[in-house]
Amino acid sequence: MDDLYRDFILEHYKRPRNFGELEPHDLEAQEQNPLCGDELGVQIRVTDGRIADLRFNGHGCAISQAAASIASEELIGMDVEEAAALDADWMLDLLGIDISATRRKCALLSLKVLRHAVTGEGTWPVGAAG
């Protein structure tokens, strides 16, 4: 059994949940992994302060794609404010695998783009309100 490429990681990579476009959406953002130039975007529909629906889009490695897929299942239904306060440990605990320092950027890319979308602060603003 591989410590990083566990079955559930590969399963989420091959069949990512909540990937694609979301129309209409209230929040969106896009971020890059400077290590490899991978791009990940997110579109979020907000109802009564909650994430009513969410889609990630883009391309990347197994770790970044699986992390986004796994996170998406937790994020739908969450308060936007709660989502804005999520930290790296939340994402790493969710993944439950040992991540090297180099691959942390991959594992945390979806959290970075989520935070960008819900706080409006990011390195590559694309217009927060849809």
Binding site: Y5, L10, L35, C36, G37, G60, C61, A62, R103
Partner: protein, 416 residues
């Protein structure tokens, strides 16, 4: 491009693994298969010993001391410069030490381009450049109002000399800046021909030789370039020392790049006069030990013979192309024939991101790079975000290619 390999993979000519102490390292009993020399090369015992000997027995500042120890350091430093200049066929006056290729190119971008370019002028670069040969020209053209244009590549990753002629015919190209060997595709560019055509059109030429000097005979004088930059750490030498060869007449006209000690002849309250070449462009205390180490590296490479190094890596690349192309789901980028490329093979594996390829290969102690290779415009041209890249050096052997191929098959099994 599959099936286009016509070079039969004969046995490589060198086995110098014993000269490189780091190759004794193992990971879980697996030997080190280092295929990332295009990023940085490993160092032979001779280079490590030269650094150690310098610090242990000869360390003093150069160009100042009159005591015997300082004269020893001076002789070691300037002696290394002579051998390094000779290694690439350049005059000593035309051999300037910088931190790396990036700084060498920036030296030209600041001291020549920013003082020379005007609105209406063009800097012509290519789609296969490393960021270090793109961004300095973006800044220099923005600062001067000049234009930055790109020479395209074809699907095999080669430049078109006809297109170069069309660009030059416009009459506004002041500088052509291109890589000698692509760090992604491995393409060996016809630099002497580019120089001849560019000079005929009144344009200067800068060549990024970072990947060329470590793996093939390079003769600055024969190429005829105005500027030629390369770096020590990819050529079996230490980090922290790069080289800029340049036409001495141009260097005489150019203002200094960095200002400070060592680069001056005399300093008065309001103005200074500049030291002679090459020291005019070497401000502050130099990277003395690194230059001494690079001197040992070029001695080592010269003893191997750069023709043999090129033949060795040619055979390894031919073998790697043949083996990698035989794997279902593996795509190789760049010229299909090893004759046209240096010791670099970029590839992708269907359904597996290059990061994951590199991570899984790493578990077999097979070291490859996975990234955009600091060449994002080229990645955009290839239509991929990143590639995996295996690159070769004199210390690689056919068994390294076998380990690479086996590890790629192993990665495919994980993702199957």
């Amino acid at each position: 491009m599959a099936g286009a390999v016509r070079t039969a993979a004969a046995a490589p000519t060198l086995d110098v693994r014993a000269d490189f102490p780091i190759l004794e390292r193992e990971l879980d009993g697996q030997r080190l298969v280092y295929l990332d020399s295009a990023s940085t090369s490993q160092k032979p015992e001779a280079v490590i010993a030269a650094l150690d000997d310098y610090y242990r027995h000869h360390n003093a500042n150069i160009h100042r001391g009159v005591y015997p120890l300082a004269q020893e350091a001076d002789a070691l430093f300037e002696g290394a410069r002579k051998r390094i200049a000779g290694f690439t066929g350049a005059p000593v006056r035309s051999t300037i030490f910088t931190r790396n290729v990036t700084e060498a190119i920036n030296l030209v971008a600041y001291s020549w381009a920013r003082t020379t370019l005007r609105p209406g002028d063009t800097v012509l670069i290519t789609e296969m450049e490393h960021h270090s040969n793109i961004v300095p020209w973006q800044l220099a053209t923005q600062a001067t109002g000049a234009e930055l244009r790109y020479l395209g590549i074809d699907d095999a990753g080669t430049l078109s000399l006809d297109q170069l002629d069309l660009e030059l015919e416009r009459g506004d190209v002041r500088l052509v800046a291109l890589t000698h060997v692509s760090n992604v595709l491995g393409t060996i560019n016809p630099v002497a021909e580019v120089v001849a055509r560019s000079h005929a059109a009144g344009a200067l030429v800068l060549i990024d030789g970072a990947q060329a000097v470590p793996q093939m005979p390079v003769d600055f004088a024969a190429i005829g370039a105005d500027f030629y930059a390369w770096t020590g750490h990819k050529a079996l030498g230490p980090t922290g020392v790069g080289v800029l060869h340049a036409d001495a007449a141009l260097l005489e006209e150019m203002p200094p790049f960095l200002a400070g000690g060592d680069m001056i002849a005399s300093v008065e309250a309001q103005h200074s006069t500049w030291n002679e070449l090459p020291w005019k462009f070497e401000a502050g205390t130099s990277m003395i030990a690194q230059v001494v180490g690079l001197g040992a590296a070029v001695d080592y490479l010269s003893a191997l013979g750069m023709g043999r190094v090129r033949a060795h890596e040619h055979e390894l690349v031919a073998y790697a192309l043949e083996r990698l192309m035989s794997i279902d789901g593996v795509r190789v980028y760049g010229p299909p024939n090893a004759d046209d490329r240096g010791g670099v093979v970029s590839f992708s594996v269907d359904g597996i991101h290059p990061h994951d390829v590199a991570e899984l290969l790493g578990r077999s102690n097979v070291c490859v790079r996975a990234s955009h290779h600091c060449a994002q415009p080229l990645m955009a041209r290839l239509g991929v975000p990143a590639t995996a890249r295996a690159s070769f050096a004199p210390y690689n052997v056919r068994a390294d290619v076998d380990s690479l191929v086996e590890a790629v098959r192993g990665a495919q099994r994980v993702f199957a």
